[in-house]
Amino acid sequence: MKPVRFEYAPAATAAAASVLLARAADGAKTIAGGQSLGPMLNLRLARPPALVDVSQATDMRTARDEGDAILYGGAVTHAEIEDGDVPDATPGWLASAARRIAYRAVRNRGTIAGSLAHADPAADWVNVLTALGGHVVIARGSTLRTVALTDFFTGPFATVLEHDEVVAGVRVLKRGATARWGYWKFCLKAGDFAKASAAVLLDPDRKETRILLGAIEQPPVLLTDPSAILEGRRSLADVVRQAAPHLSDESRTLHIAALRRAIVLATSGAMPEVGS
């Protein structure tokens, strides 16, 4: 299939993109790598009257070291994170997650903000960056606002973004050598969307412990009382059932496994890419 007719405008900056979106007809969309939107256009599932292309927006193409955090431009690609073309705010965890997003061809074009704005509950950045306490920096004209990812997703494929807002960047706090991390996802095959995922962050320096359950057909859930889970005081089956009661038996089984394995990865010091 081929897309319905649409207008197309490249934007030089995030602010310019926002202005173009504000002027465009209702339903205009931002496009960057087009790795999710492209197929949806071709299948005519998305029928935006106009596309504003931010893939070459200069302020969205680089990463900036802010001392305590790295601000990734929204149009930084998965491959650039995988390859270390931009600094990793973590001890290699972002590069490791990037390396297992879909296929290299997708990673060459797909962008970090595109993934977040698309808000597929199974997507890696949606889950990994939420678990790491990431924030998105949203541009409306020249005005910026910052939203924690825990507040950004409002449902499957839904976010707080207004029609003329653009995810200009993503702020990720730096994590030091004492921090531990485990991210585990279950895919039917390499490169497939996750059927279940879980992430565990232990950062003694920042006194943060976070456990996330992802790929639950809804935005990810940060589990309450993570210490109790880590110390084995709550059964993982109960935890999953409580956090995501809507899951099928099969899906719950996979999520329990994902959670258990993410915990093992974070607490055993094993390499994070061990998994399915």
């Binding site: 299939m1 299948l43 005519r44 279950f186 095959k189 390499a190 497939d192 038996d249 996979l254 399915s276």
Partner: protein, 787 residues
Amino acid sequence: MSEAKATSEGVGSSVLRLEDNRYLRGRGRFIADIRLPAMLDVAFVRSPLAHARIRSIGKPPAHESSVFVMADLEGVQGIRADSGLPGFRSSVQPVLASEKVRHVGEPLAACIAETRAEAEDIAEMVSLDLDELPAVVEMTRARDPGMPLVHEHWSENVFLETSVDTNFDAAVQGAAVVVKRTFRTARQSMAPMEGRGVVAYWDNVAEQLVVYTSTQMPHIVRNGLAECLGVDQGMIRVIAPDVGGGFGYKGILLSEEVCLAYLAMKLKRPMRWIEDRREHLTGNANCREHHYEITGYAAADGTLLAIDCDAIVDSGAYSAYPFSACLEAAQVASILPGPYQFPGYRCRTWSVCTNKPPILPFRGVARTGVCFALEVLLDAMARELKISPHEIRRRNLVRPDQMPFVNITKKIFDSGDYVECLERTVAALDLPAIRARQAAGEADGRKIGVGLAIFCEQGAHGTSVYSGWGIPMVPGFEQATARLTPDGGLELRVGVQSHGQSLETTLAQIANEVLGIAPQRIKVVHGDTALTPYSTGTWGSRCAVMAGGAVAAACDVLSSRLRKIAGHLLQVDPETIVLADGMARGAGGELSIRDIGNIWYRRPQDLPADVDPAGLEVTQGYKTQRDTGTFSYACHAAVVAVDPELGSIEILDYKIVEDGGVLINPMVVDGQIYGGAAQGIGTALFEEMRYDESGQPMAATFADYHLPGACEVPAISIEHMEFPSPLSRFGQKGIGEGGAIGPPAAIANAVNDALTPLGVEVDTLPMTPGRLLAKFALARDKSEQLA
């Protein structure tokens, strides 16, 4: 293999593929690469429902002249592919549906525009008034009383029912073990890298309709087009350009081909339709869906006494041209006994009609399902008998001293040593090491298992076999033309079509074997009804044997004509002349084949007076000595690790020992086996088009229809045995499909081996984590009940 052979470029040499020069550089010309002036794009309005009466199809007023429904296709007949087997119920597949739709994706109207996007815009504006009917979706219920009828004038939803009983009641007397199982395979999409596509135009000069189509059988498509359009064959030329994979998906006359041909003739403008992946997945998932209730009877020592089977094949809504709706199920009955000998056999089959796309034979045809059912049953019997899977096979396989062997369904096995094939596979595995590892257990908790599957593949079977089916296509003599060019090169013209089989290389090697002309100087012309001899095309693992035999036959005659001229010029007996390395060599002298060509075409004054006036262009027909087919065979072995927490399966090792007879090009054969095995792994673990109860397909993209990728296909080791077929020219056997047959059975047996301690057996393809987890839960419930 002798030293001399290894350095030659003839039969037995792994010559690099001649076609790779264009394929690897991206210079092939596939259907979507063809651009003609003033060409229009066609988009089809397709049925959104599986079963409905059509009340009306409304053309958008602004685009009335751009939309065509069946009533607009004057004189066009629907597609009919009847079988002559008794009791076959006939269906007519409309080119565009006008009264009823019988599966999702069935074409209803053709919309034309300057671009595909605009044609799709128009297609969206076509209004459909459909009266939805209950759909027949589940094959095992298609025959239930009260089911809606897919074709109203039928008495039940069955294309064909067959039954065979050979000595069954007598054979099962005294059986020590009776094991019954139910198996099911999923409906698949064949998923060639290139989908279907058609470009059709009217050639004013030739006064001919030219149809480019991505097909495996251009001559058969011409037959069908002439029948449906009601025009002379001479008015139609069918060309298959480069074709990016077929696997059976392109062994068909398409309603889209008929429709575009009509529109091109009517409107006198080139028309193009390129199937997209959504059309392919939602409207053409059309293979492999079988259901077996199978029972094995054996003596206490594991000797097979009889097999009894009820098999259902979901044949979909129509009988596809030319293979018909019953080929698959009728094949099940005839090939189920596999490579085994036993005295009693009973098999009933039903080709049931459902509201799904018409079934097509996919690489391996019925064999993949049959092998899965029989081989998994055999392992279950072995467990019951407390003997090894290795032992039960060894005990029952046909033996080499029995060749040629006529099995219980009258299949004639031509040659080979099936027991040796099994033994070599088991030896390659290092079974003791696997058993030791299994006993020790895995650090990560996964369960290890090993599984075997052995099967045979009838290929290149001809007239005597296919005339029995009574379908619109019966292969006869396969022909080839060999023509020496004035500069000593060779042109080969064959009616088969190469769409990944490397025929441009292997047929050149065969000509090289006979004529000694370098393959690089041999041009293989194929895929064009105007340029090639009639052929049923490329299917049934027939090209190496049939087209190869035809090329050799034509080259033999050409050789004698070349040697005659050379003998005259060298003043020696032509019989003593040898053609090799581009030369004709006789006692006391030699002459290049280039010189002979030059003399025939450009210096006829030098020819002998009694030269054959037919010249240096030869067409010859070929059949094997007996046309019951060559039997290649293979043993597949899989070692798997099953994760009991996730239900996921990893293939740790995969071994294949096969006998393809004399291999024309071992590298090409390896490629065929690797590719086939990858598809078999897809059948085993991933590929499944599910339908909901209203007949809606549940996958529209490859995000939902899972194909194995590079990471899911292990490094497969292949060992060749080369027992020559006594039937074929060089001893070659058809081998193109075999790789796809074994994997589901071998992997399932490995999984069952791994899961024996858990009391779990798989019985349904694909073996997805979801299916395994459900089995684990069931086994847990059962053991809790027992406790």
